[in-house]
């Protein structure tokens, strides 16, 4: 066990600290950068530019496409995260264009596509949304029905997408459509790049449990885009999307954020009272808190081990597959405890005067989105058991009306 960093990395940490000391005052707030309700402001774009220049975001993206052009260094990545979180400064934009489209284009796009999209996307000049899920295609994404028919040099797209966060202010959409209706379902899909200004696109906000419209439905009627707006080939979209999903996985399950929430919960429990008794002085609540702390520490150190294994070139096993599943429920229970210790006050939200510093009710309600989004618990457990533990795949069967398999 060796948790020390090399001298190079310790020096790098000092550089980051010096950078933060110098720029913290002029950095935009976390919320301004990572809010999901509007396109980046000029101030955010300015900040993003500084971060790229210093290699604190888009670090490994080649210079020729507008990135910093650094080598992959997980430890430096970790140091950047740690120091920026400690300083409460944003590490830059994190939308789906940057986290999913850019890596995909770098892997599978044409030279022209890379030149055209990577730079503007990482600079926040072009905002993307993701057009994958459909009302009838959730866990079974490959059953999607939105179709694109070629007419001359254009794809004509018809159908409906859902869960399209940021659709209402995006410039572009990377979208999966069915172009080969007669092919087996995984082989009939294409991955297109669609400007959101194209006629025939209607975006409707999708109100969720929190009361906010974090997501949208997108209706597509005779939407026409050039046949060159495709990544890789026709019918290969499923493979392209899986490359993208691979990039998405790293986004989910951030123990540093969960730890921040736990610390906020401890603070809450030290102040919130019932009949004059502090929540932390109620043994049953305290025990629940300690259970959560134990699980959090486990996940936090597990993530550190994953990073270390990655650094040391260990082959991935089931260990990486459990993080999203476990983190989602841990957060959910953490928010639940926050609500419970506040009692009736815990049901208040959205700016009510009796709330605590954090909106525990809204975080609790919002946590359903993390439990379900990016694969329900059932799908996660399939993945863990099949890919991680080598257990048999779910059989594909057709059932008759009584639920008997048609053989």
């Amino acid at each position: 066990m060796n948790l020390n960093f090399s001298e190079e990395h310790e020096n790098f940490r000092k550089e980051v600290q010096a950078f933060l000391k110098e720029h913290k005052a002029t950095a935009p707030t976390m919320k301004a950068v990572n809010g999901t309700s509007a396109a980046p402001t000029p101030e955010v774009k300015r900040w993003q530019k500084i971060l790229i220049e210093n290699g604190y975001t888009a670090r490994t993206i080649p210079k020729e496409y507008g990135g910093y052009g650094g080598e992959t260094d997980l430890i430096k990545g970790l140091i950047i995260q740690e120091e920026f979180i400690a300083a409460d400064v944003s590490t830059g934009l994190t939308g789906q264009g940057i986290s999913m489209l850019v890596p995909t284009l770098l892997e599978l796009g044409t030279e022209e596509q890379k030149q055209k999209w990577v730079g503007p996307t990482i600079r926040g000049e072009v905002v993307w949304c993701q057009g994958y899920s459909e009302p009838g295609a959730g866990s079974d994404l490959a059953s999607l029905k939105t179709k694109a028919v070629v007419e001359g040099d254009q794809f004509v797209i018809n159908g409906q997408k859902i869960w399209t966060s940021s659709a209402h202010f995006s410039d572009m959409c990377f979208i999966l459509v069915r172009t080969e209706p007669d092919a087996p379902k995984h082989h009939g899909i294409s991955y297109l790049l669609m400007p959101m200004t194209t006629p025939g696109i209607e975006v409707r906000p999708l109100v969720t449990i929190t009361g906010d419209a974090m997501f949208n439905e997108v209706f597509l009627t005779d939407v026409k885009i050039g046949t060159d707006q495709i990544v890789d080939q026709r019918g290969k979209g499923w493979m392209v999307a899986n490359a993208t999903l691979k990039h998405e996985r790293g986004m989910i399950g951030n123990p540093a954020q969960t730890e921040a929430n736990l610390n906020a919960l401890i603070k809450l429990m030290k102040t919130e009272t019932c009949d004059g008794i502090c929540a932390v002085d109620m043994p049953v609540f305290r025990d629940r808190l300690m259970r959560l702390q134990g699980r959090l520490l486990g996940l936090k150190l597990h993530s550190l081990r994953l990073l270390s294994d990655d650094l040391n070139g260990k082959a991935p096993d089931h260990s990486g597959l459990i993080v999203k599943y476990s983190t989602a429920y841990l957060n959910h229970e953490l928010y639940s405890l926050g609500v419970d210790v506040m009692g009736e006050l815990g049901t208040l939200y959205d700016g009510d005067a009796y709330q605590s510093e954090l909106d525990w009710q809204k975080m609790f309600l919002g946590s359903f989105s993390s439990i379900i989004g990016g694969g329900t618990a059932q799908i996660q457990k399939n993945v863990i058991s099949e890919r991680g533990l080598g257990m048999p795949r779910e059989p594909r069967v057709t059932l008759d009306s009584k639920g008997w398999a048609m053989m």
């Binding site: 009736e344 609790f364 359903f368 329900t376």
Partner: protein
């Protein structure tokens, strides 16, 4: 022996459920939530016409004198439809207060009005079940001052019944001078919860000061049973919606309800939920017939039902996938009602501790 509803109670249940279901298609619930007052006049009027406000009120005051078991049947139906009506406060807690500690004149006056549907009540009992922040009331020279938090259905009520400490009950008119009433922004927008600020407000005593301990305890028992019944009704709806959705929704060329993970989740949900029905029924029966058992049963009915209803609501949401937490499906109205009820009149930890205390297990 019959553990369950009598034939008459089945008729009552059918009538109330039928009426409330007709009034609460999802579009209506959305409107009620946007309004946020917790009191929909036409639904309330319908319940009055069905005699629902008088079920625990003696016939001499215009009621039908049926009992808590019948009121519980009604509250379960309210939970099933998240109907925005001040039923528990007006038709259950207020009559108990008046019957337990009110003067003959007060009973005559208010119970008749409740039976007839001429008044609504908000009820503030948090003084007796857990004081938060700077809440607290004082009574001096017949005037009441301080702050009452989480007055149930208090936002639009005509009259406000408040516990002062754990032993005194007062009634305040909603228009009284010196009273400020503020909306509490609870996530469940089908119930009108209020904060009251009182500055030397005129009030009417229900009983003499210090004499209402038993009455307040009865109110808390009944309130816990009623909230449990509501939450049970809401959870049962969520469960069956999830089961039905699982049978309809196809993914991977088969109904998701044919996957063992979903089947077993449904099995776990119903295995946990179904016994709550009997526990709540028995607690209500005990309220009417077995006074020495009721407080313990009320604590367990509420704690157990709320814990289970919370998990059922989460699981039902999960079975619906992403759609489960959209307003398109609207499951969240039921989930939020369950979450609010969980905290009212004592959360599960507090009610379990109360159960232990009732058995002499707390030193």
């Amino acid at each position: 022996m019959n553990f369950g509803l009598s034939d008459e109670q089945v008729l009552l249940q059918d009538a109330i459920r039928g009426f409330l279901e007709e009034q609460t298609p999802l579009d209506n619930i959305r409107e009620f939530a946007a309004d946020g007052n917790g009191l929909q006049a036409n639904i309330w009027q319908g319940l009055i016409e069905l005699g629902a406000t008088g079920v625990i009120i003696p016939e001499q005051f215009g009621g039908s004198d049926l009992g808590m078991f019948d009121a519980t049947v009604i509250m379960e139906a309210i939970g099933r439809t998240v109907a925005p009506v001040p039923y528990i406060s007006t038709a259950v807690l207020a009559p108990i207060a008046l019957l337990g500690s009110g003067s003959d004149a007060q009973q005559q006056d208010w119970l008749n009005k409740i039976s007839a549907g001429d008044v609504t009540f908000g009820v503030g009992l948090t003084e007796a079940t857990g004081v938060r922040r700077d809440a607290g009331l004082t009574l001096a020279d017949g005037k009441i001052s301080g702050k009452a938090l989480f007055v149930i259905d208090g936002l639009k009520a005509d009259q406000l019944l408040l516990a002062v400490g754990t032993d005194t009950l007062v009634m305040v008119n909603a228009n009284a001078s010196g009273l400020t009433r503020n909306r509490l922004n609870v996530s469940d927008k089908t119930r009108g919860m209020a904060e009251l600020l009182l500055d030397q407000v005129d009030c009417e005593l229900i009983g003499t000061p210090g004499s209402a301990t038993d009455t307040i305890a009865r109110m808390i028992d009944a309130g816990r049973i009623g909230l449990a019944a509501e939450s049970f009704g809401a959870a049962e709806i969520l469960f069956y919606r999830a089961r039905d959705y699982a049978l309809e929704r196809n993914q991977f060329e088969r109904p998701i309800g044919s996957f063992q993970s979903i089947k077993h989740l449904c099995a776990e949900m119903i295995a946990d939920l179904e016994p709550c029905r009997s526990l709540i029924w028995y607690a209500a029966y005990a309220y009417d017939e077995l006074p020495e058992e009721v407080s313990l049963m009320a604590c367990h009915a509420k704690a157990n039902t709320q814990e289970i209803a919370k998990v059922v609501a989460r699981s039902a949401t999960e079975i619906h996938g992403g759609m489960g937490f959209t307003d398109l499906m609207g499951l969240h109205y039921w989930l939020k009602r369950i979450e609010l009820n969980r905290q009212l009149l004592g959360g599960p930890e507090a009610t379990r501790e109360a159960a232990a205390r009732l058995q002499g297990l707390v030193a």
